[in-house]
């Protein structure tokens, strides 16, 4: 058993020295992989878990988390990419989510420099506020193009979406973005 364990140990050490693994550990690659993974999960698997037609916005949670932990520049680039990934699956006439994500994450990045959001409930509160803000803004813009939803349907989806997003936030925090 001992030689086998030694072999396993040596193989693991060798694998860690291989460049692709080190490459994944670098910040831009890791963030890109997380972003792509979350976008694919959100547009495929997560649809099976809709509650009252609401789904949590994993991309927004990740973008807000990046705004907490990284520089303003990284936050804006990440938010822009997250919004773009959400836009390519939807049918808005322009990059609605790209614009809203970028603006929201820029604001969060600025606010997090002045105030400390260290506890998880505070971070969840920021994510929920960002979610509500983004949805209200999106709905206002959609209403100008004549595609406004009845207020009851909007309110219901917004409420359940916010609760669902709040429940999923600790899971994204555990990803240690």
């Amino acid at each position: 058993m001992k030689p086998l364990r030694m072999l396993g140990f040596k193989l693991t050490r060798l694998a860690l020295q291989i460049k692709p693994i080190r490459l994944i550990q670098t910040k831009p690659i890791r963030l890109s992989l997380i972003l792509l993974g979350l976008a694919i999960i959100q547009s495929t698997v997560l649809n099976e878990f809709r509650i009252f037609y609401a789904v949590p916005d994993l991309l927004l949670i990740a973008a807000v988390m990046v705004s907490f932990f990284y520089s303003e520049k990284t936050a804006i680039i990440f938010a822009c990419a997250a919004g773009f990934l959400k836009d390519i699956f939807s049918n808005s006439s322009f990059g609605l989510n790209t614009l809203l994500f970028t603006l929201i994450c820029y604001a969060v990045s600025k606010i997090s420099k002045k105030f400390i959001f260290e506890t998880i409930p505070l971070r969840i509160a920021v994510v929920v506020s960002a979610f509500l803000l983004q949805n209200i803004a999106a709905q206002l813009i959609l209403s100008f193009s004549g595609e406004a939803l009845p207020l009851g349907v909007f309110g219901k989806i917004c409420l359940f979406g916010a609760i669902y997003t709040a429940c999923c936030t600790p899971l994204i925090i555990k990803l240690k973005i």
């Binding site: 773009f84 614009l99 959609l142």
Partner: protein, 258 residues
Amino acid sequence: MFFKFKNKKLKSSLLIAFAILLFCIAVPVLRKPSVDILEYPLKIIDFVGQEIKALIFFHQNFTENKILTQQVNLLKQKLVHSEEIVQENQRLRGLLSFKQEVSYRLVAAHVIARDPSCWNSVVIVDKGSNDGVKENAPVMGFAGLAGKVIESGSNTSKIMLLNDPGFKVSALIQRSRHEGLVTGTLENRLIMRYLLPDTDVKIGDSVITSGLSELFPKGMLIGTVLSIGEEYAGLNLYCVVKPAIDPLKLEEVMIIVK
């Protein structure tokens, strides 16, 4: 340069804001190639998801299969009977020298992704312009109308389902032939508006496409009437329609390509 910025930070911030705005405007152009690139990861995840679902709901699928097999046998008998009626209809139409309706060419497609936001009902399928799918092509589920193609990439297409708030189709109450406009509500319900106050409509009536617009062929089943009400202004009636297909559980669709 028309403007000279003394503050370098302001200049760079404005440049970044301008670049982001340009990017936002360019998003619709970049959308098609991006979805095509993501086709394979989406297919893999969808396949894995389907397999897991099949394992989890094995018993439910087994019993459902038994019931459906019985139904298929029953429907086969009905099909033979309706074939007779179709042939008789064709003979009579020939006698009356009616214009023959064109038969459609269908392309079956699999749903590989959905709109991640809560505000649209859009799905992405694994067939695109390489398979003959064009924009605005009508899409059918196995039970009735499912939506229309809004974007067609080379290998993928984006379909707006009939419960999307932006979806509108001219429709008829099949029994009384009264017309109205069916729109989506995002939920598993549709609204048929602009029905005249004296419209003969009952709960359970079938709603079909009227064929007035060139987009959708006449006679495609949209759904059945669930409830009837009076519009706020009192000038028209409206009815809530239950779609024939379940937009949230849609997995396969058929696109009319010709």
